[in-house]
Subunit: 307 residues, 2 copies
């Protein structure tokens, strides 16, 4: 733990692996680290598949490195070059930062997981924060649950869109707009970028709250990145009262997410879905399967010990 607090990269990596493997003492160490965090600027970057999130995060890492910040990336996007590089054959960008001790990249595998993504993200950010990283990016594909998870963990949420995606993908953006602090129209050098930006402005005009900033980028060439960095730095400098309100909202959402994960684990263990071949309440699964007991009553039994 002292190594993590001193910012040692291999101690930090070891701590994250210990948490992944649920080694004895790892959770206690995580709890002990928690009070030492709270200084990092945590930036969520999310958007539909194909909008260029990973290239954008890569550019942001370089930009914040150039300003002298230590930067970490938690990549939970299954299509990210960070987490999904082997699949896509695209490890080039990751390698660009691989020899830089001021950049730490953490991939979270999401395939086939029953929940646990919020938990892993929250724990990873807590460790990297305590390890003194100045900026932590959480990169996640923004469809369904993930968009909510990133809002739980980040100080600022960047929602990335791009012109020329299909209507069906565009429709997915609606949920994302609600959590955006900054809206990026990436691939702004492509045809349709003007219309995409105009559409977003029109959608935002319908909303009740003050809209997020809109920034146009072309992550592949670096165009617009300085403006995006400036927007992020402006957002960081919010009044103390607003910051406290945001921290409280984050804390509440994290507690709720972690309570759900804890119950999931406990239920898994009790009914034998976990490593044990059969838990103490495994027979209730047979009763539900046979429709002798309904699943809601079964959950009451698990949670309270009585029907």
């Amino acid at each position: 733990m002292a190594g993590v607090l001193a910012g040692d990269v291999s101690a930090t990596a070891g701590m994250l692996r210990a948490l992944d493997d649920d080694l004895p003492g790892a959770r206690a160490a995580l709890r002990a680290l928690y009070p030492h965090g709270g200084r990092a600027f945590v930036v969520g970057v999310t958007g539909a598949p194909g909008v260029g999130k990973s290239t954008l995060v890569d550019g942001l890492v370089a930009a914040f490195r150039a300003r002298g910040a230590r930067v970490a990336v938690v990549a939970v996007d299954p299509s990210s070059p960070f987490s999904g590089g082997a699949l896509l054959g695209d490890r080039v960008r990751m390698q660009r930062h691989a020899t830089d001790p001021g950049v730490f990249i953490r991939s979270l595998a999401t395939r086939g997981r029953l929940g646990g993504l919020s938990r892993s993200t929250i724990a990873s950010v807590a460790v990297l924060d305590a390890a003194g990283f100045d900026v932590i990016f959480i990169e996640t594909v923004g469809v369904g649950q993930a968009e909510i998870d990133v809002a739980d963990a980040a100080d600022v949420v960047v929602v990335v869109t791009a012109p020329g995606l299909g209507d069906e993908i565009q429709a997915l953006k609606a949920g994302l707009l609600e959590i955006a602090d900054v809206l990026v129209v990436n691939k702004a050098d492509r045809e349709g970028a003007d219309r995409a930006a105009a559409d977003l402005t029109a959608m935002l005009a319908l909303g009740a709250r003050p809209g997020p900033a809109i920034v146009r980028t072309a992550a592949a060439t670096g165009a617009g990145l300085p403006e995006l960095v400036a927007a992020l730095i402006t957002l960081r400098a919010i009044p103390e009262a607003d910051r406290a309100a945001r921290r409280r909202r984050q804390a509440a959402r994290q507690i709720v997410a972690l309570a759900a994960e804890r119950a999931r684990d406990a239920a898994h263990e009790a009914i034998g879905g976990g490593p044990a071949p059969a838990g103490p309440l495994a027979s209730i699964v047979d009763d539900v399967a046979a429709r002798k007991v309904d699943p809601w009553s079964a959950v009451e039994v698990l949670a309270t010990g009585r029907a």
Copy 2:
């Protein structure tokens, strides 16, 4: 409840609305209905955005109607014409079935929800099953958590792909392949369909378990739909021992998912994230926000009443 069991469509719709609004007695009615279900054939249809899931489900509804089955659709895909029609301006296909009392369409809004999708899906299927629908389709966009949710609730999972999507979207399929009982290459009249089918066959050959059936369709023209219907009917006729094992696995996964939802609700209520301005344990949120208490310890306090 008698109306639902008699298959009355407006009683069924009323019951689902009562559950949505959490009206008094709705949960008790749901529990009472549960033992009367278990006869429906529940088919999950999932896939990345843009593969044509909705058109395919529309074709499957028509095909099973033609065989005399009563058919329900639970549409949890935000881009579905069933749930997202207003957004996409595409209500044409929904209207095709709107006057048919043998088709029931249930849309689940997912925007901005903190969890609850599993719960709503499980409850909707339980009601429609008790109402005597012979086939229930669950249509969901297969990215992230949703792919797991659909496997919790369905007897058979159809994973839909299409040629010509971007690499990033294709990469999302990897998680989906693991839960597929039938793999559909839709838009099989498009360029690249042969290669898409060959790629899938190659990916499946790497897997340990016996691979799912691969069916090529062009949902827009109806090509391949008879073969898909035949594949589904074959899958339904599994040996009783296999069916029992599947029901048990479903029951276990549903219990775990519902236990997580219950804990989420309880935490929300205790810390005042819910309708109440402040719950009995609201001060613990302040302690976490101030980093005096870590969120894992806060969850222990919520779950057990002690630190």
